[in-house]
């Protein structure tokens, strides 16, 4: 058995929120169950945001309440503010993920707050959740950590300031998110090292997009830096509002193939994962499904001895 790497499926949240159509709730529930049945142990199933802002996420309460009954699955839900975190708690989410944009422009446009104000909101979320009887994990995602389509270059010092603020606020863990897909492998290495020097083991995850085709190369750089948790979306679902036609999250099945081929253990069965694409296609008929394995199939050399 190789070293374990956690691959967290975020398609039902980050993938669907940008999709042109709205996936019907029963299909979404079936899709999430199929992902879980493939061995995925962490799934970000939705986002507690006002339905008028992101109608694709309107069924998040119902989806969360269903998903928590899946065996061996940690159910993650995004919440941009205290109100969303309270809803996530009330519906039974196991972990709340709070986005904090590092760049001022993205923070203003996405959250209508400065980065420092959002760090303050995280502190309020932590304080509230820690008072509740049921323990809930709290993860903060440092969005636009590698660059921003609005502000351009994001200085590492800004990432460090946000990360240390979040650590001080008491989150359980942090992720660095390449929200717009500008990152390159050398930058991944540098920033992971710098943030780890600032907050240590709190930095646990990378959230990567494949906008420029560098998604798995960036994941490899993260792996080589010791990162052992990655977000990904089945069929690379999602896109980028600023760049029509641009790719979404890194492709879960391709990431799993890379990791397992390299000797890491993900606990995920690739054939079942690929089969779950058909439910996604059923629920979102117009959407482009990406990914190498989805097109070409599992290489016959996979897991065969050389």
């Amino acid at each position: 058995m190789g070293e374990h790497v956690v691959v967290t499926e975020v398609g039902p949240r980050d993938g669907l929120q940008i999709a042109k159509a709205i996936m019907p709730t029963p299909i979404k529930a079936r899709w999430i169950a199929a992902i879980a049945a493939a061995g995925v142990t962490e799934i970000e199933v939705g986002s507690f945001v006002p339905p008028r802002l992101i109608p694709q996420m309107a069924d998040t309460p119902e989806i969360v309440r269903g998903a928590v009954h899946l065996p061996s699955v940690t159910v993650l839900a995004l919440a941009p503010n205290l109100r969303g975190a309270q809803d996530a708690y009330a519906n039974g989410a196991h972990r709340v993920v709070v986005p904090v944009s590092v760049s001022a422009g993205h923070s203003q446009s996405n959250l209508n707050r400065t980065p420092a104000e959002q760090v303050g909101e995280v502190a309020r979320i932590v304080a509230w959740l820690r008072q509740q009887p049921r323990p809930v994990g709290i993860e903060a995602a440092c969005s636009t950590a590698f660059g921003c389509s609005i502000d351009g270059v994001v200085p590492p010092s800004a990432v460090l300031a946000v990360a240390s603020g979040l650590a001080a606020a008491g989150v359980d863990s942090l992720s660095l998110a390449d929200t717009v897909g500008y990152a390159h492998p050398a930058q991944i290495r540098t920033l992971v090292r710098a943030v780890r020097a600032e907050v240590g083991g709190k930095l646990q995850r990378l959230h990567l997009h494949d906008t420029m085709g560098l998604g798995l190369a960036n994941a490899l750089a993260g792996i080589e830096e010791g990162v052992r948790q990655f977000d990904a979306a089945l069929a690379g679902l999602g896109g980028c509002p600023f760049a029509p036609g641009a790719s979404g999250n890194i492709v879960t099945e391709d990431l799993v193939f890379m990791l397992e081929s390299m000797g890491f253990a993900t606990g995920i069965e690739l054939d079942k994962l690929i089969a779950a694409r058909s439910i996604l296609a059923e629920g979102l008929p117009g959407e482009t499904l990406r990914g190498g394995l989805g097109r070409a199939g599992i290489p016959r050399t996979f897991r065969a001895a050389a």
Copy 2:
């Protein structure tokens, strides 16, 4: 200035040979000239094979004769046998690339010879070319080095046997080709090290396909092992006959973006390279053009100081 990495454009050969349509010769010549004008210094422009086998390559003699007049470009041409190498020489190619399949099944189906017989053919090509008045480079490409769609797993020992045979035959350089796109980063590292231990500096290049989405991750592994020459195709042209819809070569513009972002110098101007996609689209109207930068544009953080 960063360390130099050679990015060799192989779209006019490896990309076009599998395309559904045949690119008109004048457009092909314009396309190659545009790639050269972007700063690409090595271009594999065609293949000296019988036109009845690969009609897309029928104009290779004319294309080579034109391309050698492009300033600062090394013109590569593929030749599977002595006859092809003689034609490549006669038409003025600067370097001949000879494919040698490592796996018996691929060798038989592609070249109608065993790997050992093809190594013998390379020896004949070397002997003949070395006797000619004009010096011509001779590169051998070890096809299916990382796995084969016909034979499955390709043992490293088979790669080493072919590589050492080719070095003994006197080629100037060798490449390892992931012909069907089965490779993963750990395998790239292991095989590059093993082949280098066998043939030293003769191993110069990786030829990677993006079938499973791992192309740039594999290139990164190669970079980290010290490889400084890579084949790539504009817009990831090409495909895989065994897997309809599968991706072709790694995308030149995405590779250049990755390398330049990481501080390597390719000498290639990304905007001009991306602009050359429109000539490709003009010459092959039905073909899918892939690539992150082609869709999303050059990130605004590119080459900006952080």
